[in-house]
């Protein structure tokens, strides 16, 4: 993550690691994946375990509502001024990949109003298996799928499953009920991803978020090192 370009002008452009005043900006982690896989639940659980030790904020990209932002507000995982919703014009992957300007505005505004921040989580609206984040927007990305969406999704691959920095296979508590073979999912994911990590989670279980939270802490360690 050597993104310093030494910009001295007003406003950062995109992935610059420093803010215009010279301070290091927050680490930005994107969460993508199919509709309903548990992205918002993952964001909420991460906020609950990290908020006491880190300064956090969240950007949501809903397709046509503010539901994700409202869920996070209702559950009070963070104070309202730390949650921002971006409107995506019916096309969430455009807003996180092809034209990231509205999301960059949101992360900058959050740093300006409630900063300094350690970590900003950017949730994409639920999309298909090809949606990935631009490197101009996030420093690392998590792709969240679930066991109920079919245990052949890791085998099908696609940019999210294959290249995300962390693949989360969520709702393992449902595996017996939907007949998903977790060992097969792990094997297929390994074949698609090589050395890249995979985490199996059940957010219904006590501290089910732990493997993801540990990975996020490691990313933060590398970012601030």
């Amino acid at each position: 993550m050597h993104l310093d370009h030494g910009h001295t002008s007003h406003g950062a452009i995109s992935a610059d690691a420093r803010r215009p005043d010279g301070t290091r900006r927050a680490l930005r982690i994107g969460l993508g994946g199919p509709v309903g896989s548990g992205k918002t639940a993952t964001v909420a659980a991460l906020c609950r375990v990290l908020r006491d030790t880190l300064s956090l904020a969240v950007v949501t990209n809903d397709i046509y509502t503010r539901e994700d932002a409202e869920f996070l507000l209702r559950n009070a995982v963070l104070p309202p001024e730390r949650i921002q919703a971006v409107e995506t014009g019916a096309c969430p992957h455009t807003a996180i990949r092809d034209d990231i300007s509205a999301n960059l505005e949101a992360v900058e505004d959050l740093e300006d109003t409630v900063g300094p921040l350690d970590l900003i989580l950017v949730e994409s609206g639920g999309d298909n298996l090809t949606a990935t984040f631009s490197k101009g927007l996030v420093d690392a990305q998590i792709f969240v799928i679930d066991v109920a969406g079919g245990d052949d999704i890791p085998r099908k691959g696609g940019p999210g499953v294959t290249t995300a920095d962390l693949l989360v296979i969520n709702k393992t508590d449902l595996a017996p009920h939907v007949g998903s073979d977790l060992a097969r999912m792990a094997r297929d994911a390994g074949e698609q991803r090589g050395e890249l990590p995979v985490a199996f989670t059940s957010l219904r279980a006590e501290d089910g978020i732990a493997p993801v939270a540990d990975w996020v802490r490691a990313q933060l360690g590398a970012w601030t090192a």
């Binding site: 002008s9 007003h10 452009i13 014009g89 019916a90 092809d98 300007s101 509205a102 505005e105």
Partner: protein, 221 residues
């Protein structure tokens, strides 16, 4: 003559300046049943082109002539009665500024960004961008005229499932009028800030205010 290729880069709908999330009032018109097909889209675009399109194109041309951007920004405010549309124009101006500074770095763009950290009106930023890209006032006006109709056309394809060939044919039929509007806008801008047109579309202003309050919508405006 200026570089045609630079104009194509700036006018391309894929230029990452935030426009994809906006329908230019088309979402409200579709919901109200005023735009149902290609003919409705054509009427909508024609109306928008000759009103806010002309006004915005002239502001952009004036900025590309190098007129005072602060005076132009105030002129844009005065020509935008809807608070929702003023907010949209500044937000899109800020997004365009980011793309423009990364694409055509220039001291003039940096100065405008410093003056309006939350965004100047989009046409003012667009005219300044045109200058930075080596384009002229007419180019800036053409660019605005085209995006005035191109944005709603793309949005209506998504909103109605309208045949994309029909939507593109609408744009082609509007080409002579886009040319006219761009020429008129540039000619007005040549005469200075007091000669800038102030054509507006009251229905677009009203529906923009209503649309901004919808709890569920596909487009931000």
């Amino acid at each position: 003559m200026t570089s045609r290729s630079a104009l194509l880069v700036l006018a391309d709908g894929r230029f990452p300046a935030g426009g994809h999330a906006h329908s230019g009032g088309a979402e409200a018109a579709v919901r109200a049943g005023r735009v149902k097909d290609a003919a409705g889209l054509e009427s909508f675009c024609r109306g928008r082109l000759h009103t806010t399109g002309l006004t915005s194109a002239a502001l952009a041309a004036a900025a590309a002539y190098g007129l005072d951007p602060a005076a132009l920004d105030a002129a844009a405010d005065a020509r935008t009665p809807s608070p929702a549309l003023r907010a949209v124009a500044r937000r899109l101006g800020r997004q365009l500024m980011r793309a423009a500074r990364a694409t055509w770095p220039s001291a003039r763009l940096d100065a405008l960004a410093a003056m309006y950290p939350r965004g100047a009106h989009q046409p003012v930023v667009l005219g300044t961008t045109a200058l930075a890209a080596g384009l002229d006032a007419e180019d800036a006006a053409y660019c605005v005229a085209y995006e005035t109709v191109g944005g709603p056309a793309t949005a209506v394809v998504r909103l109605l499932g309208l045949d994309p060939y029909q939507a593109t044919a609408v744009l082609a039929r509007l080409v002579p009028e886009m040319d006219q509007v761009a020429e008129r806008a540039a000619a007005a801008a040549r005469q200075g800030i007091d000669a800038l047109p102030a054509a507006s579309a009251p229905l677009l202003d009203l529906t923009a205010e209503q649309h901004a309050a919808w709890p569920v919508r596909l487009f931000a405006s």
